[in-house]
Symmetry: C2
Subunit: 296 residues, 2 copies
């Protein structure tokens, strides 16, 4: 199977499992399930769960063992987008071509839907750990890595500095802090969770950590570039929104050409660290290259 098909197959598998967590409800509080489900099914690429699945499978781990962790990460990612889009934060009306959660359900429900997705992520992981014998504490270790990456010293830390930097010209160090925390941390945690559940050796874990750090940052640099030169239709949102909001980005601090070079170097680095693996890592190699040339 070629890379694009394999990517799509994995995405569909994640989509299917995610749907099972949001069955149609008739209860008093059904609105919140609709709101959570709306954003979960709003067309995400599923990059993070795909990474967790692939890394685990590559190491010989079972898909069903890592799946709850993969879905939990996608829920955390989705909640962060819902809250990021709120009027008090980025104030975005559209995300992936669809009205943002608070535009459909109102701000109050959007806040609660985000909260509920974050909480559900932990419910799902703890539920898996409680009902299934991993033979050691790998389930807890994976959940702990995800918790740290999502928290105040990870993703949320990046969101805070991003929020406080709006309208200011920030240093290159601050911009790297924002990107490494706001975006990379959870991408890294996806790879780590896959590695832990898949039973990676110390050497394998180290290499995968390096890989994740490189593609995580590359992903965000490419995002910044696409916001300047991307195709609006493919992106599902207006280009130039960072500039309009006076957000510091790689292109605004380094220029487009230098930003492209930074992204390219990060991708090269990600391929180098995968050398400890044989052909098993081919999908991850393809994924690196794909992230560099993606259009949305």
């Amino acid at each position: 199977m070629d890379f694009k098909n394999k990517l799509l197959t994995k995405k569909k598998k994640v989509d299917e499992v995610l749907k099972q967590y949001f069955p149609p409800k008739t209860s008093l509080h059904k609105t919140i399930f609709e709101s959570m489900s709306y954003s979960i099914n709003a067309g995400g690429k599923r990059l993070r769960p795909i990474l967790a699945l692939e890394v685990c499978e590559m190491l010989g781990g079972k898909t069903e063992d890592v799946m709850p962790f993969a879905c939990a990460i996608e829920m955390i990612h989705t909640y962060s987008l819902i809250h990021d889009d709120l009027p008090a934060m980025d104030d975005d009306d559209y995300r992936r071509g669809k009205p943002t959660n608070h535009r459909v359900y109102g701000e109050g429900i959007a806040v609660l839907a985000g909260d509920a997705l974050l909480n559900l992520a932990f419910e799902i992981m703890l539920g898996k750990i409680i009902s299934y014998d991993f033979g050691d504490n790998r389930g807890i270790r994976a959940a702990y890595e995800i918790a740290k990456a999502a928290g105040v010293n990870g993703m949320i830390g990046g969101q805070v500095v991003d929020l406080e930097s709006e309208g200011k010209k920030v240093s290159k160090e601050t911009l790297e802090f924002i990107h490494l925390h706001k975006t990379s941390a959870l991408i890294e945690a996806s790879v780590k969770a896959g590695a832990i559940i898949g039973g990676a050796s110390k050497e394998e874990y180290k290499a995968l950590e390096d890989y994740a750090r490189s593609i995580g940052l590359a992903f965000q640099v490419v995002d910044d570039i696409l916001d300047v030169i991307g195709n609006e239709e493919k992106l599902g949102k207006k280009v130039g929104s960072d500039m309009q909001k006076d957000k510091s980005t790689y292109p605004s601090l380094y220029g487009i050409e230098k930003s492209k070079e930074i992204a390219k170097n990060l991708i090269t680095r990600s391929l180098e660290v995968l050398e400890v693996f044989d052909d098993r890592a081919n999908f991850l190699r393809e994924l690196s290259k794909y992230l560099a040339i993606r259009e949305n």
Copy 2:
């Protein structure tokens, strides 16, 4: 030591440990720590962590074993208040006599501080489970009970129905749903977590579950009553705010006298179910009575 002194001693112990989670920071993202710490230290009664501690200790469990779970519950409670107070939700300017989080730090930071407290709760529990050998899976079981109680089928479910019911006259069933989910669920989880970590037998667990359900609902009914006839200075907020917001409450559906009777019956019930315990449960008995006559 009399009851009030024991209560105060426990509260101080919780206060001290909670403070340790928010050391002063000089990092780029220090604002979020200040904002989290502001609400954590805004004068909460610490009812939930005190319950978890007391139940665990009463059963012969160690304080340090249950403390991270007790603090996690207080963080979840605090995050829910920060989000509840937001303009898009209850739109409250004051809480316990102090400006609400978003009035001090702005709405964006308040959303993130709430998110960060919820996430930190799980980080702390998972960190304890990973670093400490409980000898069985009681740490995970306690964390799972807390996760379920805080989630979409617990506290958040209650918040959703509460939000959607504003300005409407609701049925008694809906009001009970709101109170049981929005308030009772986390109080119940506090008792359950203490019982699980303390190693409760099946019979003890069942009794404590019953106890928690009764005081949880009683707590909220008394809250409703205080909002009508309470002392503003002692409450730290204006009375009549439920009525002003057209919120259905026990007094608005049943009248004050009947509401007082309901609270009294719940307290009586909570004392009855404690009969399986000997003198060990005296503190819990006193706590029940105290909740019925509290003034804030």
